[in-house]
């Protein structure tokens, strides 16, 4: 499979993992290994990067690049502050920008997200914003200098799959930066669909960490992302209504 390139950095895996929801570090570690991921996002709020034996150590041990995120922030101000603390602590200027509008839906707040993105880009960050499936916002964020855009398939943790594949296609069509489908993945076919729609990568956590057998689901996601990417590149056949009574059998 061809490499994924974000901000000039190459990844041979197109599956980006999150760490939330795992019952134990060991289960998480096995799932990460099975997923083949090379980039994993970690919530920085209420995490001390210096503490021994935490999730960050699991990632370091596996040689997985850490993508700090601003989960739990409700304002651009909180997000910028969290990103700065993460940069200082982890020595990476990459950040998955996540500004939540409310606790019930956990949908991203587009205005706060854009505001924070502008400030973080100006501050030298490599910004990967989590957004709704809004093609206009995706385009504006790209213009603002974001290194990728991360539209949702469905709300975080919902496992509802991709609710609006058409919008995801529109975002992909217009994007000059990688499009990473983030949130909503429930099972392997959802991840494959994201790739078939033309996304450059998929980010997921709960679908794996809360599965009955996380390592097995992680392996399934790995294969699904590969399969979806290959299908996209192969070019699918046009859809036809096979059962229509317009067969060549008529004389």
């Amino acid at each position: 499979m061809d490499d994924l390139i974000i901000a000039g950095e190459k990844f041979s895996s197109r599956l980006i993992m999150g760490t939330g929801g795992a019952p134990s570090l060991e289960v998480l570690d096995q799932a990460l290994a099975a997923s083949g991921t090379e980039l994993t996002t970690v919530a920085m709020r209420r995490l001390d990067p210096a503490a021994r034996g935490s999730v960050l150590d699991v990632l370091r041990e596996r040689g997985i690049k850490v993508l700090p995120n601003t989960a739990g922030c409700f304002t651009a101000g909180d997000a910028v502050l969290t990103a700065r603390l993460a940069r200082e602590a982890l020595g990476t200027s990459w950040v998955k920008l996540e500004v939540i509008a409310d606790e019930r839906t956990l949908l991203p707040d587009p205005i706060e997200t854009f505001d924070a993105a502008e400030r973080l880009v100006a501050d030298g960050f490599t910004v990967l914003p989590y957004i709704g499936d809004d093609p206009a916002l995706a385009r504006r964020l790209e213009q603002a200098g974001c290194a990728a855009v991360m539209p949702l398939g469905a709300p975080i943790g919902s496992g509802l799959g991709i609710r609006n594949p058409h919008n995801i296609e529109l975002i992909v069509e217009a994007a000059g930066v990688p499009v990473i489908l983030d949130a909503g993945i429930g099972t392997a076919s959802d991840a494959a669909l994201a790739m078939e729609l033309g996304c450059d990568a998929v980010l997921l956590a709960t679908a794996v960490t809360r599965a009955q057998r996380p390592d097995l689901m992680a392996a399934a996601m790995r294969e699904a992302v590969r399969a979806g990417r290959m299908a996209r590149q192969a070019g699918r056949i046009p859809r036809r209504r096979y059962a229509e009574a317009s067969s060549p059998l008529t004389p």
């Binding site: 019952p23 134990s24 570090l25 060991e26 289960v27 570690d29 209420r46 995490l47 001390d48 210096a50 503490a51 021994r52 034996g53 935490s54 999730v55 606790e103 019930r104 943790g157 809360r210 599965a211 009955q212 057998r213 996380p214």
Partner: protein, 440 residues
Amino acid sequence: MDVIVGGGVVGLSIAWRLARSGRAVTVVDPAPASGASHAAAGMLAPVSEVTYTEEPLLRLGIAALRRWPAFAADLTADAALPPGRTGAHPSGPTAAGAPLPSGGASLGGPPAGSGSAARAGGASGPAVSGPGKASSHGGAAVDPFGGLPLLGGVPAEGRDVLDLRSDGTLDVAFGGDDLAALGELAAFMEKLGLPVERLTGRECRRLEPMLAPSVRGGLLAPGDAWVDPRRVTAALLVALERRGVPLVRERVAGLSREGGRVTGVRLESGEEIFGERVVLAAGAWSAGLADVPVRPVKGQIMRLRSPEPLLGRCVRGMVHGTPVYLVPRGDGELVVGATQEELGFDTRVTAGGLYELLRDARELVPGVTELEVADVVAGLRPGTPDNLPIIGPGSAPGLVLATGHFRGGVLMAPLTAAILQGEEGDLASLCSPARFRDIS
């Protein structure tokens, strides 16, 4: 002699069990019963806590729960023994709590600082309860702290001094999504052969009328129990004192070694205590003394107080994807817990932590907002990579590990002590330190 490093519920239980079997032991801890055991809610709930991938933890938890009644009975009896040789304490009703070697931990009284933390009358006199009003839990007006038997030798009627209760845990769901998730969990539990009952929303509220009206359904684990960990550690400290076990209130700076062997501990004062075995039961601090994969996982927890108990059993549920639980005590205390944070050795109580606990607790039981805030603390759970404890011989001779109990120290304490006595071979292998290659 054995040196036990750590005076939390695990270390004290081990020391007590060893002392009962006639072995000489010394416990070393700068502030016994003040760490995770002091913060813990004391849920003995292996069934309602089970999740995917954690069947081994379930096996341990069920075995541990089975040991609790006998453990509690023996401990209560032992703590009521007449004072031993070392029990010569001043008997005045001093604020230092002289009759008890328990530091800040009072026997069932309100938490230190929120009232009388001391017992008056000396070790042989009757216990004096705290300033709280007697509750009518269980129908009969009883000593709210059930404290009499511990020091007076007279069992309080119908009340266990440790507040050990086994009325089950009720796991509740609000939205349809939560209910479906609970249904899946129930199916998993049934597959494991666990005795759980599915309840409708109305059945839940018949059991617990203070639950929010929007509760859609629940899952009752009738065999789950709970205990007041502060009473347990206080009773353990009394029992150890009665048996003449020395308690050294100092921090262990390191292990003493000779050749490849661990021969004792080095205190911060420079003094050494030698023993045939050193049992490392230092919880989250264990990794500072030996190479064990134990990390601190911070938990903020809140104790509320009401004149009457609000709930009859433990209630738990998911709110915004975070679990919250409420544990009622017989005296009207209601424990709300707990956050789970990876912040190293940070024990600050934060605004966000308390806000989230209360916000979530209020979703389950709206009436909690009317209660008095009695106590807020943060403790450090000793987490391991697989959430299972590390119990058994360390790789250096002379060193024994009993740490990494994560969220289950109170539940597992009796089992841990038994494993160190050579019992439960099957379960012991689940906890074996050998499963981590880098154990020293």
